[in-house]
């Protein structure tokens, strides 16, 4: 096997060729014969009662086929939520309905009221303007704390208040945590906001529904990270279509970052309308529409307290968070501030007592759900900010304070219900000190000062829980689904393989890296392995790609299926060579009998499996195709240490990222080039959150950042080259590849590094500024100074 194609090789990506030549097949590139187009008329108020939706004039407009309103969906299910959180009093969360089209009320700007289906998109849009609406505007709730006040307007009239749940974790520890704070030698407190973000994959969402009259089957083409999940949710809970009559295809998908996990109303609508109209129905989201319909991310308001003893050991952590759910519960929303956030509050540190309180709140804003990192960036940000603040208050080195409290023995059971299998936090910190060139900082700071700029250095650590997730564990925590992954490996007669995976690639390069694993296991050229994903019709039921789970869970399923293939192939090889199966060895694509010069090639065995003329039919079936489902026994725990150097312009408050370094431990690595790319992208998004991005609503619930004119996306000149390293590798102990996952690390590890660096720059210049909320825009920094 060529050395550039196996595990550990930076193999160039095969999928690049089609993307680079304009031959990708994204959902918006799919056009079906007879296709009609839908435009959604959306609420322009945050909260209102729908007194009248009169479509009669619009229906007479040219090209209009039919206009649907909430009435058409009265007999249809609503969009389901996939996770049920139980609160600190043992009660299940309040779970309001989420209709496909608004019924009775609109609850956020962008809530769909009517859907106009017409011959062309322009005609649909024109007709939507002729729909007559009478909306009685109601007072909106936007601020979470105000939403919980007595007498606040109710987002959902049928709920008792706007509180989704009040969650305590670990509730039994609360008393002991309070006691530890009472006894602490030092307590550091920090109040902060984790700013609301919009995921903004460059490809806006698209859905094309199709109905086949001859078979009665429905097909949905959609921009999804998990087509099987969409098929299950939409088929079983919304439209009542059995899975064998429903196919969901997610072809090339232009980025997701979490926002394409969830089941959205437009998907259900297009599938429903295609059958109702007996024509394919297509929806292409505009970017402005995406800002008011894609699930948003983050939006936590937190108070964190850290207790230390007289020797600066962490003794307890207590946090109090308000988490915005928006107007409806998106698919995984309740799990993000709880099980993806509270369980990470130990970070990299031995803190014996931790208590996390989260109040999840309904507001008249777009639903909030997982965005790259999902809960883990929120945990990391507050923890790494409060540790930095504590170091400053105590007058100790922030790196030393962290090192002193590092977890060093593994496995390590945290007080927040998870067990880290491996890690070496000193090693990643050592590596960081080297690649970030800490020793040269002082000289660089002086050079900045000579230019009139304030230079600062910020560092932080992170831990995350990836490889989501052990089904029995998440079931106990309220998940309504299993979180295993699947793979079918089909070997063709002439020796090529097709791997059909339940994972989905939307930028991660699975078609290359997954093939590297199988090629290595068999010892053949990676080009003999084809990876198929994204179509429920030809892949086994899988849960898709998010939570840095693809290689750790999907890759493990693929390894298990490939092991089954190899075991069967060895039996065939033993028969062909008249040897004992126990003596068969597979190396470099060749089966040989140990201790002899007898061998058969991979292709001879695969041919025998399908042309069984000389074949042990009494012992094994013909054919060579195996499926495996893999359910992990634990999460994986990537970790690392990040450093950021900034320059602050004291005249304008503008922050410039001068250097950024990341030392990660992802366990074993399949393709280092792809891993680096994942870290780069995460850092770019993290810098975006720290310096630029913020989704803003005014007090009436009007979205102020509704396009790229107002929402500041990071651009090429906002970021530097990044120094990334993943040579510290403590392999995961419980999956066959020893991998941990790398997709979210950059977004989790970078915001605190940036903010710590800016605070450091300001402190070094003698300004006693301890915190500025993200994004650290010039105006905020300048005002703080």
């Amino acid at each position: 096997m060529p050395k550039d194609g196996g595990i550990g090789a930076s193999t160039k990506r095969r999928e690049d060729i089609r993307f680079l030549t304009g031959n990708g097949n994204y959902t918006d590139d799919i056009n079906l014969r007879g296709q009609a187009y839908v435009h959604f008329l959306r609420s322009d108020v945050a909260h209102g009662r729908l007194n009248k939706v009169d479509t009669s004039a619009a229906e007479a407009m040219p090209g209009v086929l039919r206009i649907f309103t909430g009435k058409d969906f009265e007999g249809v299910g609503g969009l389901p939520c996939g996770w049920q959180v139980t609160d600190r009093f043992g009660e299940v969360m309040q779970e309001p309905g989420h209709p496909v089209l608004a019924q009775g009320k609109v609850r956020h700007v962008g809530d769909p009221i009517a859907a106009v289906v017409a011959e062309t998109y322009a005609q649909a849009r024109d007709a939507a303007e002729a729909i007559e609406l009478d909306i009685e505007e109601l007072p909106a709730v936007v601020d979470m704390k105000k939403a919980l006040e007595e007498g606040a307007p109710l987002v959902h009239d049928e709920l008792k208040n706007n509180l989704c749940y009040d969650w305590g974790f670990v509730e039994e520890n609360k008393g002991a945590v309070d006691e530890a704070f009472a006894k602490a030698a030092h307590v550091t407190t920090l109040e902060l906001i984790n700013n609301r973000l919009v995921a903004n994959p460059m490809e806006p969402r698209v859905a094309v529904g199709d109905f086949n009259r001859s078979t009665g089957d429905s097909t949905l083409y959609t921009t999804s990270q998990n087509p099987h999940v969409i098929r299950l949710l939409m088929g079983a809970f919304v439209l009542g279509i059995p899975e064998h009559k429903l196919r969901v295809v997610a072809p090339d998908v232009g980025g997701g970052f979490g926002s394409k996990i969830f089941h959205y109303a437009e998907e259900a609508f297009c599938t429903f309308a295609a059958k109702a109209l007996n024509r394919p129905v297509k929806w292409t989201c505009s970017r402005s529409e995406a800002f008011m319909t894609d699930a948003h991310g983050r939006d936590h308001v937190t108070k964190i307290e850290l207790a230390l003893d007289a020797e600066n050991n962490f003794t307890a952590i207590r946090t109090d968070t308000y988490a915005n759910m928006g107007a409806y519960l998106s698919t995984f929303a309740p799990s993000v501030p709880t099980w993806l956030h509270g369980t990470l509050m130990a970070g990299n540190y031995r803190t014996p007592l931790i208590y996390v309180n989260v109040k999840a709140v309904f507001t008249n804003t777009v639903p909030v759900d997982a965005y790259r990192g999902a809960g883990r960036p929120e945990a990391t940000y507050q923890l790494e900010r409060v540790i930095d603040k504590a170091a400053r208050e105590l007058g100790v080195d922030p790196i030393g304070l962290r090192r002193q409290n590092f977890i060093t023995q593994f496995p390590y059971a945290t007080p927040v219900a998870v067990e880290y299998d491996t890690g070496d936090y000193h090693a990643t910190m050592d590596k960081l000190e080297e690649i970030a060139d800490f020793s040269g900082f002082e000289a660089r700071r002086k050079a900045s000062a000579a230019k009139g700029k304030l230079r600062g250095l910020g560092i932080n650590c992170y831990i995350e829980a990836c490889g989501i997730a052990p089904s029995n564990l998440v079931g106990q925590l309220g998940a309504r689904a299993g979180l295993y992954e699947s793979a079918t490996v089909r070997v063709n007669a002439t020796g090529g393989l097709v791997v059909m995976t339940g994972s989905h690639s939307h930028g991660q390069g699975h078609e290359t890296s997954f093939a590297q694993v199988v090629a290595e296991m068999i010892g053949i050229d990676a080009n003999m392995v084809e990876i198929v994903h994204g179509d429920t019709a030809n892949t086994p039921m899988g849960m898709g790609t998010y939570g840095s789970r693809s290689i750790a869970v999907g890759g493990s399923a693929m390894v298990r299926a490939t092991e089954k293939i190899i075991n069967k192939a060895k039996k065939i090889a033993a028969h062909l060579m008249e040897a004992s199966e126990a003596d068969i060895e597979l190396k470099d694509g060749k089966f040989s009998v140990a201790g002899t010069d007898k061998s058969v090639a991979w292709g001879d065995v695969t041919l025998a499996a399908y042309v069984p003329h000389n074949y042990p039919l009494a012992d094994i079936e013909p054919g060579l195709e195996e499926t495996a489902f893999y359910d992990p026994s634990n999460f994986t725990y990537p970790s690392g240490a990040y450093a950021c150097e900034v320059e602050v312009d004291p005249d304008t408050g503008k922050v410039t990222i001068e250097r950024f370094a990341a030392a990660d431990d992802f366990g074993n690595i399949i393709n280092p080039m792809i891993v680096s790319g994942q870290v780069h992208g995460g850092i770019g998004q993290g810098i975006g959150q720290a310096l630029l991005e913020s989704c803003v609503y005014d007090e009436n619930g009007q979205l102020q950042t509704g396009s790229y004119m107002d929402y500041a996306m990071p651009r090429a000149d906002d970021v530097p080259f990044y120094q990334v390293d993943h040579s510290c590798q403590t392999p995961c102990t419980h999956n066959p590849l020893g991998v941990k996952g790398c997709g979210e690390a950059g977004a989790i590890g970078s915001p605190p590094a940036v903010v710590n660096a800016v605070i450091d720059a300001l402190q070094r210049s003698g300004r006693n500024i301890t915190h500025i909320d993200m994004p650290l825009s010039p105006s905020r920094v300048w005002q703080a100074m």
Binding site: T21, E203, P672, G677, I683, S707, A716, F721
Partner: protein, 161 residues
């Protein structure tokens, strides 16, 4: 509906269009050249960049009718007919300058326009030129690196892995 005629990737192209048809819509819907993408509706993202008479243009900001008689080049016209990638395309693959691929056509077309204007740009000049092209996957690191490499400059000292 009026007819519009232009040359696209060296071949004559024409179609009946509404007056409000954008150039990107004409390319994607009428000609089926779906390599040019639409990522926003405010001319910010640059996924739709094509060359009009040799200049990089966001094809969402121009009516198809305005391209009457123009020479248009899209991402589909960049590689050689035998499939050999353009040096910029090749550099993007060599340096992992793309992930999901959605912004990529616009990035490649912008990079080609930059290198036509400025054959050996500095890092800062590359970053400045890409102001109008958004990427959400790469953090821009490998895009900038790929463009510097495509210009023939040594990128071996830029952190890779």
């Amino acid at each position: 509906m009026p007819e519009v005629k232009m040359t696209v990737n060296g071949k004559p192209a024409s179609g009946q269009i509404e007056g409000r048809t954008l150039l990107v819509e004409f390319l994607r819907e009428t000609l089926g050249l779906t390599g040019t993408h639409v990522g926003c509706d405010t001319s910010q993202c640059g996924a739709c960049v094509v060359h009009v008479d040799g200049k990089a243009v966001k094809s969402c900001t121009m009516f198809a009718a305005e391209a009457e008689g123009a020479e248009i080049k899209t991402i589909e016209g960049m590689a050689e007919p035998d499939g050999t990638l353009h040096p910029i395309q090749q550099a993007f693959q060599d340096h992992h300058g793309l992930q999901c691929g959605f912004c990529t056509p616009g990035m490649v077309m912008s990079a080609a326009a930059l290198l036509a204007e400025n054959p050996t740009p500095t890092e800062a000049e590359v970053r400045d030129y890409l102001e109008g092209n958004l990427c959400r996957c790469t953090g821009y690191h490998n895009i900038v690196k790929a463009i510097l490499a495509a210009s023939g400059q040594d990128v071996s000292r830029i952190a890779a892995e």
